[in-house]
Amino acid sequence: MAYDIQTWVSVAAFTGGGMAMGFGAIGAAIGEGYTAASANEAIGRNPGQSGDIFKSMLVGQAIAESASIFALVIALMLLFTSYPSHILSVPVLLGAGLCMGLGAIGSGVGSGFPAGAACKGMARQPAMSGRLTTNMLIGSAVCQTPAIFSLVVSFILLFTDFSANPISPTWAAILGAGISSGFGAIGSGLGGGLVAQASCEGISRQPLTATPVTNVMLLGQAVTQTTAIYALLVSFILMFKSFPATDALAPPMALLAAGICMGIGAIGPAVGEGFAGQGAVAWIARNEKYIADLTRSMLVGQAVAESTGIYSLVIALVLIFVV
């Protein structure tokens, strides 16, 4: 390299900052747009409730916005903080930017779904406004947890001193950690949002089922969050395990592949489990008598959907520890 290290560190910082804010803006905007759309539909049906619906829309949009605020914070940190002039700062900055940028997508969109359903529900059942708002807040908060995982991984990447580690394969471990938590947050955010949306709609259609619907919503959302936790686990292992120095190409590629495997592999199961939870919660609201059967079916179905997520975790761990 004819250029000094600081040049490459700056290159990585600006590219990472651009990616962080670019990707991070997608999800929140789509989710907030969906909420605004639902609020308009609701006000059209019941103009007398426009005050409550409007307020609900703004609160719901604020929660969806938080994911993109995390991305803005990471982008500003990448642009304006000075980082150690060590070659490992390059993958750190790229990894942190990618992690937070991608991680904000799912949570932003997902948090918009329950807010929209709450707005529509208030038009249908104004008396349940308080309960709908509470349910929307709980559901959206669970949706935000994958974005918080991504923020945590980004912060750890930015503030850990990697200078004592060998350059190869640590560069791949760092990038893999960012990719794992970045992609891994997308599915869980979306899936959690689908379940919360169904619960808000169910409570508005059948107010008497509010408590069982909320309970099953939390259960269903908890299952959708599991793949984001696997991705977080793989990120932590990649960041904190010390790898022996190597000159070969295969060991760093194995670590990068572990991050890609767990990150992208976490998307599908989470979204699928979200659909399952959505179906179960919607029909528990319509048919409370069969809550046991519906919950059992939801859990069995979600367990089968989880299977490929488990395969991804296994292959990622094999790539890290065995090969």
Binding site: A25, G33, A36, E41, P47, M57
Partner: protein, 81 residues
């Protein structure tokens, strides 16, 4: 021989492009959905057109905010860093 400062500028421009380019996707989609539903609602209830339009604009403004963040980061990358 490309200068080091040149490569930094190149990366800043690339980051600005990614930030604004990818960042424009979300607000576009979201505001479009809001507008579509507003039209549908006004079609079903024309008497409330004023209230519905106002709600749509406020909702679109919130969705726009993330696009503004991307614009700010892009401008910072172009002119400040």
């Amino acid at each position: 021989m490309i200068e080091g400062a040149d490569i930094i500028k190149a990366a800043a421009f690339l980051g600005a492009g990614i930030s604004m380019g990818v960042g424009a996707i979300g607000p576009g989609v979201g505001e479009g959905m809001a507008a579509a539903k507003a039209c549908e609602a006004i079609g079903k209830n024309p008497k409330e057109a004023g209230l519905l339009t106002r709600t749509m604009l406020v909702g679109q403004a919130v969705s726009e905010s993330t696009g503004i963040y991307s614009l700010v980061i892009a401008l910072l990358l172009l002119f400040v860093v």
